[in-house]
């Protein structure tokens, strides 16, 4: 909201962050939810929410859709190497229908 008002006052274009939720989550000094054994869509989801869910210790479900340039392969590798639940991953990716184009 603040960002939109600043854009309106300064006459600049209202833009959304291109970076993922992880940027805002790190800035909030949160422990990574992957470190707590959870699958979190923060690495592939567009920021702008001030990482409100992950700050509340609940995994990101991708409500803002994919960030500008996501590395889905690396993300899936991250989930795979930690041996996290495949069905949990699928349910999260499907929650907001945001990642259909990237889902293997």
């Amino acid at each position: 909201m603040e960002r939109i008002i600043i854009s309106l006052v300064t006459g600049s274009l209202v833009t959304l962050p291109k970076y993922p939720v992880c940027v805002e989550c790190k800035a909030a000094l949160n422990t990574c939810l992957f470190e707590l054994g959870e699958i979190c869509l923060g690495p592939i989801t567009r920021a702008g929410c001030h990482a409100v869910c992950t700050t509340g210790k609940t995994p990101c479900l991708g409500c803002r859709g994919p960030a500008e340039e996501i590395n889905m392969e690396a993300f899936l590798h991250l989930v795979g190497e930690r041996e996290l639940s495949r069905s949990d991953l699928q349910e999260k990716l499907a929650f907001y229908n945001a990642f259909d184009a990237f889902t293997p």
């Binding site: 210790k57 479900l61 349910e91």
Partner: protein, 424 residues
């Protein structure tokens, strides 16, 4: 004065969602009065099928932008009862505080922004900013306080983050709770301003006897869980919610109707007050007395006043809850749990009345079947019948078509219907 006319309000403003009022008068006699919900159903119950328990509250909370905490907690309670999970005491207290925050912001929104313009004779709150700036400011500050209680307890003011099956994902911060306590104490006097304002308004002297349904427990004013009671003497277990609601459809409404002992019944602030006023904080009882609200009150317009009385109770009780949370160790906020097959009802007193979620899980904790019964659904039949009764009462008093139109709008708004919820 016109003796033949049709009132067609399409759609009614200052309510949440879309519905119409139609009244037909011929030769000064009421022919028909009808409450028609026209909003499209959204099929949340089907979306829930196959979803894992962890995810459920994040979906159910999206049913509503006003009572999202109630929806999250109704489904959490249903799942915890179905899978035999006991949340820790800290989580239970935090959840109650969250419910208070939600009810306060919802009641403030309705009382000041949706209902007050009717009583003050304006079309919206905007003219009130000139004539009653202190009242508008009080409304905004109380709404903000409710939002802040919700934010501190659940991580976000709308669509809670930390309410999860088993307890909380994160404990509220003690410094934030202490700041909240200060804010409550600073803003409590605003309710006196609000009470003085509502005392000065003329509430229509109308009443129609009905059956009031609410949650009940033997220790406190109802909020989360309990048994189901009606003012006609019915008392049932939470899981027997279907016997309390008896949903049926009407060809003219996309939202269902319900009934219990009579043709219609009511849920909401007035129902809670009528059934459980003994558990209100003494300050709230004092406010009720000063506003002329006594149980059992059958005047639907007094639902507004019952909401205001509840706001007084909420702030008193919130102070006590925060004091006790500040005295507690806030570390263990979630009970570890294992998924299992089961089914149960979770009932909570949402701002507008009893909200039921019934969920059935399989051995993996996935939802097999979901059923949600919304407070406004339980008020539809009562609203429909009140429209007839109000129109007839007004015709008898010699009111003209404009006056009848306004009274009919006001009686519907008094229920604070959330039509979008009712077509979940």
């Amino acid at each position: 004065m016109k003796r033949d006319y049709t009132i067609d309000i399409h759609h009614l403003t200052r309510v949440e969602g879309h519905a119409n009022i139609s009244i037909t008068v011929r030769e000064g006699q009421l022919i028909e009065a009808r409450w028609t919900v026209v909003e499209t159903p959204r099929f949340f119950e089907v979306m829930l099928k196959g979803m894992s328990a962890e995810r459920v509250p994040f979906l159910t909370s999206r049913i509503c932008g006003i009572c999202s905490i109630s929806h999250a907690l109704a489904s959490i309670r249903a799942l915890e009862r179905a899978m035999d999970i006991r949340p820790p005491a800290v989580a239970e207290k935090t959840r109650l505080l969250a419910m208070h925050g939600e009810t306060l912001q919802s009641h403030a929104l309705h009382l000041f922004f949706l209902a007050a313009p009717d009583f003050a004779g304006t079309a919206s709150i905007l003219p009130l900013m000139e004539s009653h700036p202190d009242i508008v400011r009080a409304g905004l500050q109380l709404k903000e306080l409710g939002n802040e209680i919700s934010r501190v307890t659940t991580g976000r003011c709308t669509h809670p983050v930390s309410l999860v099956v088993g307890g909380l994902s994160k404990a509220p911060d003690k410094a934030a709770l202490a700041a909240l306590q200060k804010m409550i104490r600073e803003r409590k006097p605003l309710l006196e301003t609000a009470c003085a304002f509502f005392r000065s308004l003329a509430i229509p002297d109308f009443s129609r006897e009905t059956e009031f349904i609410s949650l009940s427990n033997s220790t406190s004013y109802p909020s989360i869980g309990g048994c189901l009671i009606s003012s006609d003497g019915i008392k049932r277990d939470e899981n027997e919610y279907l016997l309390m609601t008896n949903e049926y459809t009407k060809e003219f409404s996309t939202s269902k109707f319900t009934r219990l002992s009579r043709e219609t019944s009511a849920a909401g602030a007035l129902a809670r007050f009528n059934n459980s006023s003994a558990f209100l904080h003494p300050e709230a009882l004092k406010a009720a007395e000063s506003l002329g609200l006594r149980p059992v009150c059958h005047n639907p317009f007094m639902n507004n006043i019952a909401q205001l009385v509840e706001c007084v109770h909420i702030l008193e009780d919130a102070e006590l809850l925060i004091d006790s949370l500040l005295d507690m160790e806030l570390s263990a906020v979630k009970t570890p749990w294992k998924a299992q097959a089961g089914s149960a009802t979770g009932a909570v007193e949402a701002p507008r009345g009893i909200l039921y979620h019934h969920l059935e899980t399989d051995a993996e904790g996935r939802v097999v079947r979901a059923d949600c019964i919304i407070p406004t659904t339980q008020n539809n039949a009562n609203i429909n019948l009140d429209l007839k009764a109000v129109a007839e009462w007004a015709l008898e008093k010699g009111k003209n078509d404009r006056e009848i139109e306004k009274l009919c709008e006001m009686v519907v708004r008094s229920y604070d219907p959330c039509i979008s919820c009712s077509v979940h």
